[in-house]
Amino acid sequence: MTADPSIHAFTLAGAQLMAMGSGALWWPDQALLCVSDLHFGKSERMARRSGATLPPYETRDTLARLADDLERTSPRHVICLGDSFDDLAAAEALPEAERLWLSTLQAGRDWTWIEGNHDAGPIDLGGTHRAQVVLGPLTFRHIAEAGASGEISGHYHPKARVRTRGGSIRRPAFLVDRQRLILPAYGTYTGGLDTGSEPLSGLMQPGAIAILTGPRPAAVPMPRG
């Protein structure tokens, strides 16, 4: 699978991992797929709170991309790394069609919802709910903790900017150094934090790399400003 140009392979704490162009993380040895910050129901929440109207397509769009990745990798285990729902009310307000679709995606595999700051608390959907998960050398949690090692987290929606001769390109990115990996947001309509900003620039060690998502993920030294 390493020859696949839509995947970038790397190692963290001895585990062979693959950053997918979609923003999902694939761990072949465990047949585990991990996605972060899905933010289902964002437009619904925006409409509820501010009256602004985003088109309601984003949940379906996110689900469609997730379905594609599940089909490509056929994982035994899926971890959603927190902030899967924009808030708990959004989880409850998920339309019936999307709920059904989600349950077909969950069928036949372990599904873990890790709690995030947006969706702390149990959700009335299939799967298990955990604050964090430890698997072999790796720990999955929503927000990175100082001093951790072998840690996989999300939360910050990192984006990296690369200047090319054809103009600058800014995309969601995986950030990786020797201790940790921070995942980009997988959900449609999520903003982002530049890699040069705190706390990302402080969390990531010197020598960290950023893997920009897209049809052909590209690794660059993490831009710091």
Binding site: F10, T53, T164, R165, G167, I169, I209, V220, P221
Partner: protein
């Protein structure tokens, strides 16, 4: 020659006026079923239109509506009321005159329906609404004449089509109705005559003496115009000088944003404090009225304006018109020039100010065309079906109808003379069921057939909703701008919703000549504070840019062919000579494509001369083809005459890019998902009644409307691709924003004569395109290649390549 009543001729004599020959001719023709008068502004056109009415009412002042006057502007209706009341009072005629527009109070409107005045002044939309009432027959009983003012302006848009359908309805109610159209100078009077007359009635065309030829020049400045842009800031000192030398100057601009920027710069340079005002459609109505009133009082020396002053009240004292930026269209230029010196028999004076180097060429071409009175115009084609749908619904509001009778009535309207019964039935079916894909939805089931075979509203309460949505004007969705903590105060003006969405607190922009700071959005109002900054963030609202007309583009190409630069200033002649030397000048019957490298990228420049909108569409279609053929395009930028495309690889074979079938295919499947097509769909769907902008409870904001229309559009494309409104959308895409018709026209013109010139560097004619704003990035393979290339380089140089 018929004799006017002596009371009227005496009044003219007492004023020291003589009746103009065309006024007399209009009176002589008073019995004709349709008459079109072509006369310059200031020629007593309106009086010519009303003279037969005054004469008839002087002899027989029976009660009831006698004459209906329709104008494109509410303000004009109000102004005519004032101007007409004076002679009527002085002659002592027992004539009641009233106006009826969107601003008229409900009580007065009700009184007008029950007891109409002799002369009613109104707009096409208010008239359509009047015909939708059940008592329309009673309101219009006895109507003799209808006078359509500024018909040349109405003829250019769907408002004219709507008006002619309303006239067809009136003619059914009042078979003896006579029609009169008043028009400024136009290129094709016959086309307007056909629009006006009941099909197949003849229409008499009267042409007034056009008066002396206008005095038009191009501004000569020591400073050279810049290579690109539309601001014309270089001309400010010269323009101020001209203002000082004249009594009142109108300074026309092509866009509102340019008018704002120019006004701002003019103020900064206005050391003598000359009273100068600004007038455009985004300003609050009260603010516009204040400027108009100051003009009438003679308090202003100049007004910076846009098309908002193309029509309207006559200001006799205007003695100079300045046009900033190339006029893009000769007819509009001539009509604008007519705004200067509204006195008959005095030449109008106008100065053209090119905003950039290419516009120098455009201005000279326009000037020559205006002097030769060679006017341009694009024939509009048959009446659009979305307007027809709206009128079927309007007819249903006024009462049950027979399909055959309604078809015959509508086919008697000029724009719909060629309407087939099948097309009408399609529209009727759409109004009744919403079309195949929507027949399951109750809200689209609006008409049903009764036992007698006549069609009527399924739910009579729907009439209110239909009436609320009458009209064809697609005002871009705007938000009011108001000073913060000053909620009772008048708004400063309006800005486009999309422009408002691009602002973040702290941004500054221009409105009404003031720099304001964006503070936030509050209940659909943009809140701002005054700001003392000298340089605003650009005012990009209302970018309604005109495309250079086909005729003007042809004139420019003809000038290139003759290589006659005698009318051009030296700097521009040298520029064109240099282009001819290093490459070639574009020609009319072939297509020049230049290819050259620049700054690490590969460029092609296509000199299509098809106008801004068509060139923009061509840019989208060609870059799509380049992406498919692996040429990795990065972006493009379009002007009226060319499109410049850049990417990673040189293009060696350009002919396939202009394959007609492939371009059409691109329009049908790929362009179909484009925003411009969605915008086109939204306009037609709104007119045809598929989408309601106004409901009894609330007015939908533009954004809400666009979300729900986008969903509808996608649904129809997927499940009912032949739906009536999609067919209308494709027809509309030949013009307007998409303007595919002019791409076809270009292909016809060039045939298979496409010349690719490979050059070592940027050419003189292509250079200004590098400075154009509005570059469109292409997201595709080029970005992936650039990213990979840069990433490899970065990883190697940083030594991190081995880490992973």
């Amino acid at each position: 020659m018929a004799q006017l009543p002596s009371s009227i001729t005496d009044w003219f004599t007492s004023r020291g006026w003589a009746i103009h020959p065309h006024q007399q001719a209009m009176f002589d023709q008073a019995g004709a079923p349709a008459t079109l008068l072509i006369a310059p502004t200031g020629g007593g056109k309106t009086m010519a239109g009303f003279l037969p009415t005054l004469a008839e009412l002087a002899v027989d002042p029976r009660p009831g509506l006698h004459t209906l006057y329709v104008s494109p502007l509410k303000a004009l209706a109000a102004d005519i009321k004032r101007n007409l009341r004076t002679p009527v009072a002085e002659i002592g005629l027992p004539i009641r005159i009233d106006d009826r527009t969107g601003d008229t109070t409900a009580t007065r409107k009700k009184a007008q329906r029950a007891d109409p005045p002799h002369i009613l002044l109104t707009t096409p939309e208010s008239l359509a609404l009047l015909t939708s009432y059940e008592d329309a027959a009673r309101t219009f009983a006895g109507l003799q004449r209808i006078v359509v003012d500024e018909i040349h302006a109405l003829a250019e848009s769907k408002r004219g089509d709507q008006l002619m359908l309303a006239l067809a309805r009136l003619q059914t109610l009042c078979p003896g109705l006579r029609r009169v159209g008043l028009s400024a100078t136009v290129e094709d009077p016959l086309a307007i005559a056909r629009l006006l007359a009941r099909h197949p009635d003849p229409c008499t065309i009267l042409t007034a003496d056009p008066g002396p030829a206008p005095d038009i020049t191009m501004l000569a400045t020591k400073e050279r115009p810049p290579w690109s842009g539309g601001g014309a800031a270089y001309s400010i000192p010269a323009v101020l000088d001209l203002v000082k030398q004249h009594r009142i100057t109108l300074i026309f601009h092509n866009t509102r944003a340019q008018a704002e920027i120019f006004f701002h710069n003019l103020w900064l340079a206005n050391d003598e404090g000359l009273p100068i005002g600004i007038h455009h459609g985004s300003l609050d109505r009260q603010q516009r009225e204040r400027v108009e009133a100051a003009m009438v009082r003679g308090d202003l020396r100049a007004v910076v304006c846009t098309g908002s002053l193309d029509l309207g009240i006559d200001w006799g004292d205007v003695d100079l018109v300045i046009q900033i930026g190339a006029p893009k269209n000769v007819k509009r230029l001539v009509q604008r020039i007519g705004r200067a010196n509204h006195r008959y028999n005095a030449p109008s004076k106008a100065v053209l100010v090119p905003a950039n180097r290419f516009e120098v060429v455009e201005c000279v071409a326009a000037l020559e065309a205006a002097q030769a009175n060679d006017l341009d115009g694009d024939p509009r084609g048959p009446g659009p079906l979305d307007v027809l749908c709206q009128h079927i619904l309007i007819a249903a509001c006024s009462g049950p109808f027979d399909a055959g009778e309604l078809f015959r009535e509508m086919a008697s309207a000029g724009p719909y003379a060629g309407l087939s019964r099948a097309a009408f039935d399609d529209c009727l079916d759409f109004c009744a069921t919403g079309g195949y894909a929507l027949r399951a939805y109750d809200r689209y089931q609006r008409l049903m057939q009764g036992a007698d075979g006549r069609w009527h509203l399924r739910d009579p309460r729907a009439a209110q909703r239909i009436r609320m949505n009458i009209g064809t004007i697609q005002d871009t969705d705007t938000l009011k701008v108001r000073l913060k903590r000053d909620r009772g105060a008048k708004p400063l003006g309006e800005i486009e919703e999309s422009f408002a969405a691009s602002l973040t607190p702290g941004d500054t922009f221009l409105i009404g000549g003031e720099i304001v700071r964006y503070e936030g959005l509050r209940e659909m109002t943009v809140e701002v504070t005054r700001n003392a900054a000298r340089k605003p963030k650009i005012a990009t609202f209302m970018g309604s840019k005109f495309s250079t007309s086909t005729q003007l583009s042809t004139r420019i190409l003809d000038m290139f062919a003759t290589r006659d630069w005698s009318a051009l200033p030296g700097h521009t002649a040298e520029w064109l000579d240099l282009q001819a030397e290093v490459s070639r000048l574009p020609e009319r019957d072939s297509l020049l494509v230049e290819s050259f490298p620049h700054d690490g990228q590969e460029y092609i420049c296509i000199y299509g001369f098809a106008g801004r909108n068509a060139m923009q569409t061509l840019g989208l279609l060609v870059t799509k083809r380049l992406e498919e053929t692996g040429h990795s395009p990065l972006g493009f930028v379009a002007t009226d005459y060319a499109v410049l495309i850049w990417g990673l690889d040189p293009v060696h074979d350009v002919e396939p890019l202009f394959d007609r079938q492939a371009l059409r295919q691109g329009r049908d499947d790929w362009l179909a998902g484009n925003m411009m097509m969605k915008k086109t769909f939204r306009a037609s769907a709104t007119i045809a009644g598929l989408i309601e902008r106004n409901t009894p409870t609330a007015r939908k904001t533009g954004r809400q409307a666009s979300f729900s229309t986008d969903i509808l559009y996608d649904t129809l494309r997927k499940y009912d691709p032949d739906h009536l409104i999609l067919r209308i959308t494709r027809t509309e895409a030949l013009r307007g924003l998409v303007d595919f018709g002019r791409i076809e026209e270009m292909l016809d013109r060039i045939g298979d004569r496409i010349e690719l010139r490979r050059l070592e560097r940027v050419t003189p004619l292509a250079a200004p395109l590098f400075l154009e704003v509005g570059k469109v990035p292409v997201k595709g393979s080029a970005e992936e290649r650039l990213l990979r290339e840069e990433a490899e380089l970065l990883m190697q140089t940083s030594g991190l390549a081995d880490l992973t």
